[in-house]
């Protein structure tokens, strides 16, 4: 049956999907929010066709718009899709993070209302967790939702929100009881991104591009059914979502055509006549070995998942390994290109430059390397938690971010 499914996926993709593009385009699109925005309508059109053909929400229950199939079919589809560049970037976050969280923690009405449209690309979702004062320590967030009758009023600022500029809904974490310890006074809500009081501002990063946003909530009124899960239990839902995020980032197949991938740097080395240097050859071989291993570890985790062994914190391993691979690739690129790294006189070199400047972001976004190492140490190896963490102090007595105390700053 999986074979039939795979065959069907293969022919549909061949007939409908574009193949992977060249490396220069990748580097541009990696940084540019503009490009993504202009393509939203086309992406929605493609997503609807992909959905109608039966290749979205493959493992999700039928009653919420899914296909009700197994991991085997999902893996078969992913394997077939690897050679294609599906124009579905706008939906990756919704289906990868808020979606599964609503599936696991939402109520019946929410699942019926939101999930089918999310899958078909009719409504686009984003995720609103990080704040200027709450990065690695997400649970120290200060955005607040104050109950008013059967609704809530949302205030605060979020950062690093991908896709906020074109999203219809967001899954937002806000503090609903500041007198509780920090993990215990948080709730998760669905927020209508078109509601009055929501302001989205592009956030420019080191590369000069603005792939993320800042989002400001100014007395935004939430709907009566906006609460996902129980009030003040939003941290549980957040943990589910953060785990899904790490696995999504970690097992995302790095396109072969990335400017810092072995294939690209090898081609550059050949073109620039640098492959004659024994050190460069060894570095390229080492890059190949590391890249292969990250790729193989992703495969192993997927196979384990199919065999019923849940990846759990191994998402952190592959996220960390991917970030370190990027850092190593930076070193190889500098040795391959030499002085050209300082100032490119060709497009392929320029693409490498932009990618090098983007690399440090990969070790932060989706959880810093340090947070991943904590997760690996504590949840895989069973080591003790960091000493002196502030799990039991009421939030309004804690210092947060760069402010002297949460109280003073609110």
């Amino acid at each position: 049956m999986t074979d039939d499914f795979r065959e069907r996926a293969r022919s549909w993709l061949a007939a409908n999907a574009p193949r992977r593009s060249s490396s220069e385009d990748d580097a541009e699109s990696a940084g540019s929010a503009e490009r993504v925005r202009t393509g939203i309508a086309e992406q929605q059109e493609f997503q609807a066709r992909l959905y109608d053909a039966g290749f979205v929400g493959i493992t999700w229950p039928k009653e919420y718009g899914g296909q009700g199939l197994t991991n085997a079919e999902q893996i078969a589809f992913s394997a077939e899709a690897r050679e294609y560049e599906l124009p579905v970037g706008a939906f990756v976050i919704g289906i990868g993070m808020p979606g599964p969280t609503i599936l696991e923690c939402g109520n019946e009405q929410q699942k019926k209302r939101y999930l089918p449209k999310m899958l078909r690309g009719e409504e686009i979702w984003c995720q609103l967790f990080s704040e200027p004062g709450a990065g690695s320590d997400v649970a120290s967030l200060q955005a607040s939702a104050v109950r008013d009758g059967d609704t809530w009023v949302l205030n605060g600022q979020k950062v690093w929100t991908s896709g906020a500029q074109y999203s219809d809904f967001g899954a937002v974490l806000a503090r609903t009881d500041p007198a509780q310890p920090k993990h215990k006074g948080i709730s998760m809500f669905i927020v209508d991104m078109h509601a009055p009081g929501v302001t989205v501002r592009p956030l420019r990063v080191a590369t000069g591009h603005a792939p993320f946003n800042e989002v400001f909530f100014d007395n935004v009124r939430l709907a009566p059914d906006a609460l996902i899960g129980e009030e003040n239990r939003g941290w549980d839902a957040a943990v589910v979502m953060l785990r899904n995020e790490r696995i999504a980032i970690g097992t995302m197949t790095q396109p072969r055509s990335s400017p810092l991938a072995y294939d690209s740097l090898r081609k550059l080395a050949d073109r620039l006549g640098r492959a004659g240097d024994q050190g460069v050859r060894r570095e390229l071989a080492s890059l190949y070995a590391r890249e292969q291993s990250v790729h193989l570890l992703g495969q192993l985790i997927r196979e384990d998942a199919m065999a019923g062994r849940f990846p759990g914190p191994r998402g952190s391993v592959i996220k960390l390994a991917g970030a370190e691979l990027g850092r190593y690739a930076t070193q190889v690129a500098a040795d391959v290109l030499g002085p050209q790294v300082a100032a490119a006189d060709s497009d392929d070199v320029r693409a490498v430059q932009i990618s090098i400047v983007a690399v440090p972001g990969g070790a932060i976004a989706g959880g810093t390397n340090e947070i991943q190492r904590n997760i690996i140490g504590e949840r895989m190896l069973g080591l003790a938690k960091d000493p002196g963490v502030d799990r039991n102090t009421p939030f309004n007595q804690l210092r947060v971010g760069t402010q002297r105390s949460a109280k003073e700053s609110s």
């Binding site: 071989a285 495969q299 904590n374």
Partner: protein, 362 residues
Amino acid sequence: MTLILTQDEESLRDSVRRFVADRSPLTKLRDLIGSGQPYDADVWKQLSAQLGLAGLIVDEEHGGAAAGLSALSVALYELGAGLVASPLLASTLAAAALGSLGDQAASGALLPGLASGELIGTVAWQPAVTVAATASTAAGGCTLAGQLSPVLNGAQAHFLLVPANGPDGLGLYQVAGDAHGLTSEPLTAVDHARSLATVRLDGTPAVRLTGDAAAALAHVADVANLALAAEQCGAMAACIAMTSEYAKIRVAFGQPIGAFQAVKHKLADMQTGWELAYAALRAAARSGDETPGQFSAAASVARVMVSEPYFEAAADTIQLHGGIGFTWEHDAHLYYKNALSGKVLFGGPQDQLDRLAATLGM
């Protein structure tokens, strides 16, 4: 190509693991150090005959299990984790060479003995070192001359396969361990679990084996990479387990030391290195059985991904244990020495990268 273990492989893993725990715990290695013996003869008998590990990659026609390279890697992983001293690697490489050559007479004469463990064989060669023996043909037949070092189990092998340059170019020659003019001198190996010797040949009678010697040596290098990667991956896991356990029970500054990020994060890095190495190992093991054309690159990748990280992990195992980890009584130094030795045998990290680069067409 499926990377996870088959049920057969899981059973093999479990039985070797039990064997190591029951019959060859680390105290065995300390007994060996005291006795000056290269390995425990009883353990070897049980490993080879009872568990059948010596015949894993020997075909059934010659008394082996023909279980393949993946099964071999599963067994070696467990033996590596327990630092079990044995001539298994040496004999396995000899079997790999014979299997690749396809010399009917030699295979018939030697493989059954290798498979049962009654014969110990070795390939007297290190890939990164120039072939150091020469062959000449005289009245009575062929003789070899030269010095080979270090040779795995060179002082115990019943026969040695020696690459030598002769009138017809490179050949692989079979030499008896007790042949005339052969002297072997055991070396002070840094790894107590690895017996090495210098072998000197002087007018030593030898038989040139038929088949492609260069291809056989290349195969030996690939199998050595897979085998060492498997042992090292197991040993690295043992270091991580040992250090994690200690980090839970040792208290400093009022906390289990695992609560300190200096300890926690180093262990997380060790674990991450192991996960990558293990994935690469599984791919190399499967490739050896299923996609021989890609085996060489895959085996180099596995070796590169584990040799250096295991050595670093073994050093960090000492470091994270603090002073106690540097004492003779603690097991950490046994792994450190094993990692140092395994890092350089059959081509160190730089050699592997050269080999991989060549395979990738650079």
